[in-house]
């Protein structure tokens, strides 16, 4: 178990949960989002191998309507 934060919300995840697992859990398509882990942008090809640990902070963003 690990306690992490996703987009400002506290979430508890299983041990060895990767960013790819996070995307799957929230039904997100990796081609439609970008991810920041502890303030650093991670390239898409690292989602699979990046296991999350306690206190990690994740930001997942997407495009929405804007002017």
């Amino acid at each position: 178990m690990a306690k992490i934060q996703i987009n400002g919300k506290k979430v508890v995840i299983k041990q060895n949960f990767t960013l790819q697992d996070v995307l799957k859990k929230y039904k997100l398509n990796k081609k439609k989002v970008a991810i920041e882990l502890n303030g650093k942008i991670l390239p898409q090809n690292e989602y699979k191998k990046k296991a999350l640990k306690n206190n990690d902070k994740i930001e997942i963003v997407q495009f929405i309507g804007g002017g």
Partner: protein, 258 residues
């Protein structure tokens, strides 16, 4: 007449009308308005994914980024740090290098903070971004942005969302005359004729969001803007007639029945 090509950096656009995707009733209306506008580039914002609502519809499912060019913006950013963070994330989503930089100085006026904007443009250009910059209508700032490598200068006509039309025609004309990169009016346009005026003055394009999205019938208004921009551009290229202080009859005076 020579073919009139609209190019930002190396990107050729079919339409001189760029539209925003905010403030619509829903994503279906957004998609229909874009289609009616004929725009091939739209601005989009970067925001957190809503993780508590997995079924929330996505802009990308309604507006296909393979057909319509997304221009990620930094709307809502009040400093360089947030703007850089936003655009670097945007680039990661889809490899977009062409972006719209908009750093606001104040919540009430949403007027551009030019000190932060200039500083950030420099960093973005260095990182290989093609930056379209929302800016004040100050010709000196516009010139500095161009010298730094901005891909387009986007002065405001009036405050964002105000719909007041072009307020400082003199400054906008100076910017048009001095710029070698496209000048695109961003913000403040209220209705289709405002866009025609901007294009007749010689602007290379206009960026419209509120004037379309907040019209009673946004889809019809999108089409009105499409024609307004084409009309203004043609008028500009055609060269208007000379202004006269007194009447000049249109019919010949010779052969009048007496």
């Amino acid at each position: 007449m020579k073919k009139d090509i609209f190019k930002i950096d190396k990107k050729v656009l079919k339409s001189r009308l760029i539209v925003g995707t905010g403030k619509y009733k829903n994503l279906d209306e957004t998609a229909k308005a874009i289609e009616a506008s004929g725009a091939d580039m739209v601005t989009v914002a970067v925001r957190r994914v809503n993780i508590s609502d997995k079924k929330k519809p996505l802009l990308m499912d309604y507006v296909n980024p393979k057909k319509i060019i997304y221009l990620p913006n930094t709307a809502g950013c009040f400093n360089s740090k947030d703007a850089l963070r936003t655009l670097r994330l945007a680039r990661e989503i889809g490899g977009w290098k062409m972006v719209k930089l908009e750093i606001l100085g104040d919540k009430k006026t949403l007027y551009p903070d030019m000190i932060e904007t200039l500083k950030t443009t420099q960093v973005l250009v260095k990182e290989g971004f093609k930056v379209l910059v929302y800016c004040t209508d100050d010709p000196i700032h516009a010139k500095k942005l161009e010298d730094m490598g901005a891909s387009a200068i986007m002065p405001l006509a009036a405050p964002i969302g105000s719909g007041l039309g072009i307020h400082n025609k003199l400054n906008i004309s100076i910017i048009i005359k001095q710029s070698k990169v496209p000048v695109i009016i961003d913000a403040g346009i209220g209705t289709a004729s405002d866009a025609t005026i901007a294009m007749e003055m010689g602007c290379d394009g206009v960026l419209i969001n509120s004037a379309i999205a907040l019209a009673k019938n946004p889809i019809n208004m999108a089409e009105a803007f499409k024609h307004a921009v084409i009309s203004g551009r043609k008028s500009f290229l055609s060269g208007r007639m000379k202004k006269n202080s007194f009447a000049v009859a249109s019919s010949p005076s010779e052969g009048v029945i007496s």
